[in-house]
Symmetry: C2
Subunit: 267 residues, 2 copies
DNA sequence: AAAGTCGTATGGTCAGACCATTGCTCAATC
DNA sequence: GATTGAGCAATGGTCTGACCATACGACTTT
C-alpha cells in the first residue's frame, strides 16, 4: 500500500483505472474535463487534478492545455524519468546500465531471430543501410542506431521487453548525442549491426544473441575509453530534454529524435 | 519534451532533482515543508504539491500525513503500477509477461553465478530450505519463492536488473496469492529452485542460466494449465493492494509480504 | 473560397481557509 | 522517578472560488 498519497486523489486514479480496464478508455481517447470529473466522482477539482497528475507522471495520460486530457497514445512505453531519478539517487554506474541493457537486448535478439516477420526484417535492414550511408554524419548515424534497436525490439514481438529496453536505453542516447564517436568506431558499429541483422534474417537464434552481446560489449568498452574513466563513473544524471517527442496526435512536426515507430504493439 | 504538464510544477521537480544530484538529498531524508518550498521557489503551494505528487507517483518520494515528505528509502525500486497500467491499456498477455521475466531472470542467474558472494549464496540457500519446509503451506511457500528470486537478483550485483525484474514479477505474485498451486507442483518447484541454487553456488554460469530458464518455462506452463486457458489470456489487471509494505522508517510492523531485504544496494 | 477574428471550452495557477494526522512536550498520576 | 495522558504545534490533505493561458472551432470578412 502506498504510504499515504491522500485518499480522494486515489479515487480518481482508481476510477480511471476501471475505465481503462472496462475498455471505456483506450489509447488516444480524451477524458472528461476536470470539472466534470469532479462532480461525477464527488470530489473537488484539485483532487481530480492530483489524481490525473499522478497518472500523467507514470506516463498513462497526457494533458494538453486548452484541449483536454488524453490517454497516452502510441506504442507502450514506461518513460525514462523514473529510472533516471533512481540512477541519480542510488548512483548507478554506466557499466551497470550497459549490463542491464545487454541482458535485455540479448534475449530480445534471440526472440527476434525466432519470430521476425519479413516486414520487420526489412525495417531492420533499412536502418542498417541508413547507418552505412551516414558514416560521415554521427548525428544521423545515431538516429539509425536508435531505430535499429527499436526495430529489433519490435521484431521480438514482446512489447514488455521493448518497453523495458527503451527505458534503459533512453539514458544512453541523450548522453551520446553529444559525445559522438569517431569515424572508425562508426564503421565498426555499422558492421556489428549488420551482423545482428544477418543473424535475425537467417532466423539463427544463437548467432543473433552472440552478435548482439558482442556488439554491446564493444560499444561499452568504446564508450568507456571515450570518457576515459575507470568504468566506475556514475551515469551523468541529467537528461535535459530527452523525453520522446510527445507524440502529438496531429502535427507531424519531428526534428531531433526519430518517431517511436510503433515498436511492437499493433493490437 | 513532456506535452504540457505545466511549468511551475516542473520547477519543483527540477529543484528536487538538483538537490538529489548535488547530494543534498539522500534516501530517507526529509524535504522542507510544502509551505516553505513554496516561498523558496516562488510558487504557490498547490504547485509545490503538484510537483511533489509527480515525484511520489514515480516512487521517488513518499509523503506521510502530519510528518513530512521523504525521499524513498530502501532498495532502489521502480514500482509495479506503471507496468500494471500499461498492461491494462495494451492488453499484455500473461505469456508475454512470463517471457519478459524469463529473459531478465536468465541473465540475472548468469550474473549471480559469476559474482555471488558466500553471504548471498547463504541467503539463497536459506530460501530454498524454507521452500522445502513449507511444501504443505502454499502461502508460506510463495513468500520463500518471492524471496528466493529477490536474493538471486541481489546476487547479480546489478540493482537495475533487480529493479526491472521486481517490477515485472510483482504482477504475478499478487495473482498467485490466490490461485495457489497444489502440492505436487510445489515440490517440483522447490526442486527447480534448488537446482538453480546449486548452479549458482558452483559458479556455473551456463547451468544457472539453463536451470532458471527451465524453471520459468515449467512455471509458466503450470500456471497456464491452472487457469485453463489458451495462453492468450490477458493479465488479470487488478493489483488490489500489492504495493510493497510502505517501508515505514520505524515500526517493524510486517505482516503479509516479506521484507524487501535490500536486493542489492547496501549503500 | 480563403483568411483572419472572436468566443468558448479546458487546463494551469493562485490565494486563503480549514481539516486530519503525527509526534512531541509537559503535566498529572501512580 | 517512571508512566501515562492531554494538549499543542507542525505538516500534509482537501476544499472553494477566482482568474489566467491556451487551443480549437465558428463566424465574419474580404
Amino acid at each position: 500500500m502506498k504510504p499515504s498519497e491522500g485518499v480522494t486523489a486515489e479515487i480518481v486514479v482508481q476510477h480511471v483505472r476501471s475505465l481503462i480496464e472496462r475498455g471505456e478508455l483506450r489509447p488516444g481517447d480524451r477524458l472528461p474535463p476536470e470539472r466534470e470529473l469532479a462532480v461525477q466522482l464527488g470530489v473537488s477539482r484539485p483532487s481530480v487534478r492530483a489524481g490525473l497528475r499522478s497518472l500523467a507522471a507514470i506516463g498513462i495520460l497526457q494533458t494538453r492545455h486548452g484541449a483536454g486530457t488524453f490517454i497516452t497514445d502510441g506504442p507502450p512505453t514506461l518513460g525514462s524519468e523514473p529510472l533516471s531519478f533512481l540512477a541519480a539517487l542510488h548512483g548507478f554506474t554506466r557499466d551497470e546500465m550497459f549490463e542491464a541493457r545487454r541482458a535485455l537486448e540479448v534475449g530480445i535478439a534471440g526472440l527476434a531471430a525466432e519470430r521476425a516477420t519479413d516486414e520487420q526484417i526489412a525495417t531492420i535492414a533499412e536502418e542498417v543501410t541508413g547507418m552505412f550511408a551516414s558514416l560521415d554524419d554521427p548525428q544521423a548515424f545515431l538516429i539509425h542506431d536508435i531505430r535499429f534497436h527499436r526495430a529489433v525490439a519490435a521484431a521480438s514481438g514482446n512489447p514488455i521487453l521493448a518497453s523495458l529496453v527503451e527505458m534503459v536505453s533512453a539514458l544512453f542516447y541523450e548522453q551520446r548525442r553529444k559525445t559522438v564517436e569517431n569515424g572508425r568506431d562508426l564503421k565498426q558499429a555499422a558492421q556489428a549491426h549488420r551482423a545482428i541483422y544477418h543473424a535475425i534474417r537467417a532466423h539463427d537464434v544463437k548467432r543473433a544473441r552472440a552478435a548482439m552481446s558482442e556488439h554491446l560489449s564493444v560499444a561499452q568498452q568504446a564508450q568507456a575509453l571515450e570518457n576515459g574513466d575507470a568504468a566506475g563513473t556514475q551515469v551523468p544524471a541529467a537528461l535535459p530534454s530527452f523525453d520522446a517527442p510527445a507524440h502529438r496526435p496531429r502535427r507531424p512536426a519531428r526534428v531531433s529524435v526519430p518517431a517511436p515507430a510503433s515498436p511492437t504493439s499493433a493490437r
